[in-house]
């Protein structure tokens, strides 16, 4: 895979009237890498993806993909891109199989070559048994897989997955994740937007955390969690707020009220000291668990992902 097909976003801005939806986002995506845009609804993820493939015109900044610069050369760049948009835009006028063969026509893949490629992709996403079904007869998970198959018709060098598993059941999500990991293994660069932490943590090599159109932090999921929170977190109920606040302050730990209880990070060095101190207050519920991206987001933004 040529390094020339790295995608680079330079200082992307998008404003609608007075509202800045995306503010100065820069990053790169190399072949064989999964980069995640993680943020709550309205953080600017979909707008950013739109700028990457050319349907959102940046107010400032540009995207370089190989020798093509977007938005001006989006049409040319998309010949090497696969795009799974958030909204379902499969063709209800065609069967599953024809959704692929007819869309292949737009890439100049026609006749027997189109039928062969459609067959390969249906096998890849385990939909070959539904080839003659109408799109309306598919489940949500099957539709997402078919959109992914359609995005791979041209054997793209880079794939955009915009909230690909929203609304899917756990089995369908696992199935989708397997496909994404296979794509990565084949050398494809993947940009994933999601508000699911488990998805981001499991799939992404690097993450950009977005809030209100800005990158508030970035790094690998492991590094982000370790740097911002630490290794472990305690979830506590039934202990007075002031006691926990004092405890956190005295040990340099992060503390936050959460739901009907509290969260407190356990220091990487001597976590037992804090843990035992909490336990000494006989909380009604006490849970010790590994820190995760939800904690990172909560600490950085003060809000949970939704």
């Amino acid at each position: 895979m040529s390094d020339a097909l790295t995608l680079k976003a330079y200082d992307l801005w998008k404003t609608y009237g007075d509202e800045a939806v995306v503010q100065g986002i820069s990053f790169s995506l190399a072949p064989g890498e999964i980069v995640g845009l993680l943020g709550p609804n309205g953080a600017g993820k979909t707008t950013t993806v739109g700028m990457l493939f050319g349907t959102v015109i940046p107010t400032k900044g540009f995207v370089q993909f190989g020798s093509w610069q977007l938005p001006g050369q989006g049409q040319l760049a998309r010949a090497q891109m696969g795009i799974v948009t958030q909204e379902d835009n499969l063709d209800p006028d065609f069967t599953v199989f024809k959704n692929l063969t007819h869309f292949a026509h737009h890439y100049r893949i026609t006749g027997a070559a189109a039928r062969q490629r459609a067959g390969e992709l249906l096998a890849l996403v385990n939909l070959e048994h539904r080839a003659e079904a109408q799109v309306d007869e598919l489940s949500g998970g099957m539709k997402r897989k078919l959109v992914l198959a359609r995005a791979l018709l041209n054997q793209p060098k880079i794939v955009f997955l915009d909230e690909p598993t929203t609304g899917l059941d756990p089995d369908a999500r696992q199935d989708f994740w397997r496909l994404v990991q296979d794509l990565k293994a084949s050398g494809c660069g993947i940009l994933l937007t999601t508000h699911y932490m488990d998805e981001a943590q499991r799939l992404c090599d690097r993450l950009l955390l977005l809030q209100q159109g800005k990158v508030i932090d970035k790094g690998t999921p492991t590094d982000l969690v370790a740097r911002v929170i630490g290794r472990e977190v305690a979830e506590i109920e039934g202990v007075e707020t002031q006691i926990l606040q004092d405890l956190a302050a005295s040990h340099g730990a992060w503390y936050r009220a959460f739901g009907s209880g509290h969260l407190i990070s356990l220091p990487d060095r001597y976590p037992e000291v804090v843990w035992d101190a909490i336990a000494a207050h006989h909380p009604s519920r006490l849970l010790r668990r590994p820190a995760n991206l939800e904690d990172v987001f909560l600490r950085l933004t003060g809000s949970v992902l939704e």
Binding site: Y16, G50, F53, G54, T55, V56, I57, G72, Q75, L76, R78, A79, M81, I83, T85, E87, D88, N89, L90, D91, P92, D93, F94, K98, H102, F103, H105, H106, Y107, R108, A151, N154
Partner: protein, 259 residues
């Protein structure tokens, strides 16, 4: 809106997609352009002919059914191209998101727009031609005249297809398509000289009707019966309408896809 270059393949492949949908239900799709003119010709041609006999058109007396036939061709062109451009494109744009899907492929906005437009014009051309063939079979229009009228049928289809696309880009709800139908399409197809010569209308109304593009198309399609001396202006008038409609349609639809 930036002018983005279209490619012949890009326009063709979008058109081809729409043709595949049409082909899959060709029997249903062919029914309206065949049945409509047959019904009109039977109802108005044979029903009214004994009452009307002949009409005075450009100073000569013409059997009513022969006068009516070119009007029916124009109506076939108008309805099929306008409805494809308005309703079908609106559905592809707002419900099926076909335009949005096509723009994830290596196609430009201009490719997708032209593909939709040419497809709307294709449907108008099919309808106009089938209507013409029905008129030929009924001995109301000559086959050679129909062949020579094909460029006019295509031009009219492009014009009304562009008008349909403009409506698709201008309205927010599918029901709102009814507004231009009642305000423009119905007055046009009743007043523009399709069913009766316009000079039977009050002078002011006749002048207004003559300005509507269907009037020019009908007058030009009646060329085997005679042409008004200013017919080249009618042709230019149609081309002008088409260019303006297409430009306005492209400007209205673009912001729905690109932000």
């Amino acid at each position: 809106m930036k002018l983005i270059t279209a490619t012949p393949w890009g326009v063709y492949t979008v058109w081809w997609r729409h043709f595949q949908v049409y082909r899959s239900t060709w029997l249903v799709n062919c029914l309206p352009p065949i049945s409509e003119p047959v019904v009109y010709l039977l109802a108005f041609g044979y029903g009214l002919s004994p009452l009307i006999g002949e009409v005075d058109y450009l100073g000569q007396m013409i059997p009513y059914a022969r006068f009516l036939a070119p009007g029916m061709i124009a109506i076939g062109v108008l309805f099929q191209s306008f409805f494809e451009g308005a309703y079908s494109s609106f559905i592809r744009l707002n419900f099926q998101k076909t335009w949005q899907a096509l723009l994830t492929a290596p196609l430009s906005y201009t490719d997708v727009f032209l593909g939709d437009w040419v497809w709307a014009a294709t449907k108008g051309t099919i309808a106009g031609t089938i209507t013409g063939l029905v008129a030929v079979l009924a001995n109301l229009y000559d086959l050679s005249s129909l062949v020579l009228s094909l460029p006019l049928i295509v031009l009219g289809s492009l014009l009304f297809g562009a008008f349909g696309l403009l409506v698709a880009g201008a309205v927010n709800k599918v029901d709102q398509v009814n507004v231009p139908i009642f305000l423009v399409i119905i007055p046009m197809f009743t007043l523009c000289g399709t069913y009766f010569p316009r000079d039977t209308l009050p002078p002011l109304l006749a002048k207004f009707a003559a300005l509507l593009p269907l009037a020019s198309l009908v007058d030009l399609l009646r060329w085997p019966l005679g042409l008004p001396p200013w017919w080249p202006l009618l042709l230019l008038w149609l081309i002008g309408w088409m260019v303006v409609m297409a430009r306005l349609a492209a400007l209205r639809i673009y912001p729905r896809l690109f932000s």
